[in-house]
Symmetry: none
DNA sequence: CATGAATGAGTATTCATTCAT
DNA sequence: AATGAATGAATACTCATTCAT
């Protein structure tokens, strides 16, 4: 089952999938909308329609629940990335980038709450874990891109003198920012990255891929 | 006055600059170190050496105080950017970018608390405001860069076919990410952007500026 | 059966003796180690290896269970006293006292958990019952000693003018305090009634018995 | 002021004596009637007629409040003992004992709640401190009596061969039990140590003092 | 105008008890 | 008869905000 969720106590895992899903959705939504600290177990159980005692039987602490939700979000994202990598193996680098972006937008459309939670992990400062987890995730993202780059370099598609790791980090940041912008719809008013407008999206993708590929320097020079 | 701070009630603005500064410093430091939710008005007034009643007379709510502090942080950043723009007016674009980045690192070194507050604003997590302020700030950042680009295009330094606004947004994002990474020192372990190591920093700057200028596509093609 | 235990619902009494004993041991141990309030039915059922529902079928409430356990502890103590009385029937009073004390220490060594529960009953603190049960127990203890005294008086061993009931109460208190001290090992540091040190114990016994027999007044007077 | 109470935060100590007293009485009564664990801060503030926040401003934690109350009770008892010792300096030992007992009964009449708290300290197991405090208090009680005995021995009033420390402990226990019995009125029904009945009390005192002085052995022997 | 004591709704978490299976 | 998931009132404690002095 796509949304299944191997976390929490055995008690939780033995719940009916419907109930698991109800609790899970409530939790994701609570954390996504309020952040860790502001999320309230009271409000969560109200939303989930279960009793206060139950949530603490399922996940012993608020912290545990949060960890479980996060881990889940991370797993989904990773799985998604892996799949895209597989599907784009043979494509030239620019097209791979494009597919990566497009599939990212799709993921966001399909899993807005998961996305919210994931982005919270990647930034907040509010979340209850040291920076190690963040460092690790950032690095994994960078490495994912570094791998794509490395492969493209070895195919002769890209300049051979580029600093693969640093450029991996930078491109990863670029994509992440774009995805986050798409998610938050910040660009909605003014910069126009409206979700419904596929032409807008196409332009963003093209501009981004072009920037990465060609830079901005005048050819004349 | 440089540190003055047009926010809070009239009552606050009529305070002696010294007292304003004391309160301001205490507030910045409290929010910077603990985030919005965790920041404690109790602890804040203790640090500021004023009474609990007073802070609520100056700023009606915690929220108001936070907004005021943020506004201030934003003003400082803008002022900094304006200054850099003025100082680099005549430089070629790549060098301008480099100076921009370098001065950003410097700003962070000099105003770590302000930076903390500013980055808190730019990531929604814990902070209590709708997206409007964020949209506005992002746009301003983008526009700042779009202006630089536009000028460079008109000088013939850059390709004339680039989408100035979108590219402005993208480059802005790139720089911001780099600055945030520098600030959080996440890259410290593994990607090496250590504050004390100027060679590392030079490499990051060079790689970034080069990426923006030339992209990554193989020359051969 | 020695360990049988006439309490709880009929349901419980119909259980196999082995299961009764398992439950009983778990309960004694839980209450003894944590006191009434802190004792956890959850932890108890885990120890006993039965289900939460069952314990509430056997004993309707935590309170009921505690009462039953206590009753049991009291029965064991009484039975012990009866036995000692029988075995010391023919001894002179001071020796009877001594035997009584020694057998008390022995009982504590052999049944530390039972002792813990029993002492909990005798000190109101945490336990949830009115004073009636305590009054009754104190009286029984006093009467036990009053009987010994009466018999000794009728044999001419003791002064015939003593107030048998009051003295019974006082001596009972003295013995109880000594036993409790032994149990809690409070005297361990400083007053030295260390369990392992039989010389110490002998001295305590001798001093106590002597005090009771001769008092402390100077012979000279 | 007799009931004044040098504990709690400065905030509490600066309260009006009436309010201090109200809070103090509520706290003593809560702990006295329910023991430490069972005492509820909620119920306490309801009784005291103050807000939940206030009690935690006065005493940072439940534990702190309990410690303060206890310390107070102990100080009162000690002070009382010191006074009696002073007033009975010149009396022969048996009369000193009698005065000690009588003044103990009086103290209980006057400070029933303090007594409750003090007795809780001396027993419960429920109270949140290691046994050190208990050991210390027991020892102090014993030493108080040992001192009286030593002095009486040096005056030739008592047998010179008695084990001063052990006997001090035993007599202390005897008096304490008597006082506790008086307090709890356990003896009320059946053994008759009724508070209102001074003849009963006289008999208990006489019997106790006589037992201590002469023991129970027949003169004939 | 400054103060800081008082407030009370809020927090996460526990646990005896119930009841449908 | 046995189970164990669900319950919800209870716990200690926090903290932004108010308001009388």
């Amino acid at each position: 089952m796509d949304e299944s969720f191997d976390a929490g106590t055995e008690l939780f895992r033995n719940l009916s999938p419907e109930k698991q899903e109800k609790v899970f959705q409530a939790a994701v939504s609570e954390f996504a909308s309020k952040g860790y600290r502001n999320a309230s177990m009271n409000s969560l159980v109200r939303t989930a329609g279960i009793s206060k005692g139950s949530i603490f039987q399922y996940f012993k602490t608020k912290r545990n629940l949060f960890d479980a939700i996060l881990e889940m979000a991370v797993q989904r994202v990773k799985q998604h990335l892996k799949q895209v990598r597989g599907e784009t193996e043979e494509l030239p680098f620019p097209e791979r980038l494009e597919k990566l972006l497009r599939s990212g937008f799709q993921f966001i459309d399909r899993h807005p709450l998961l996305t919210a939670v994931y982005f919270q992990l990647l930034q907040s400062g509010d979340a209850p874990f040291g920076s190690e987890r963040l460092i690790q995730l950032r690095r994994q993202g960078s490495e994912f891109l570094s791998d794509l780059i490395e492969r493209a370099v070895s195919r002769g598609e890209l300049r051979s003198d580029i600093d693969i790791h640093r450029v991996g980090f930078l491109i990863n940041s670029l994509l992440e920012t774009l995805l986050r912008a798409y998610y938050t719809e910040f660009l909605d008013s003014g910069l126009g990255l409206y979700k419904g407008d596929s032409k807008e999206l196409d332009l963003w993708i093209k501009t981004t891929v072009d920037l990465i590929n060609f830079g901005i320097r005048s050819n004349a020079e």
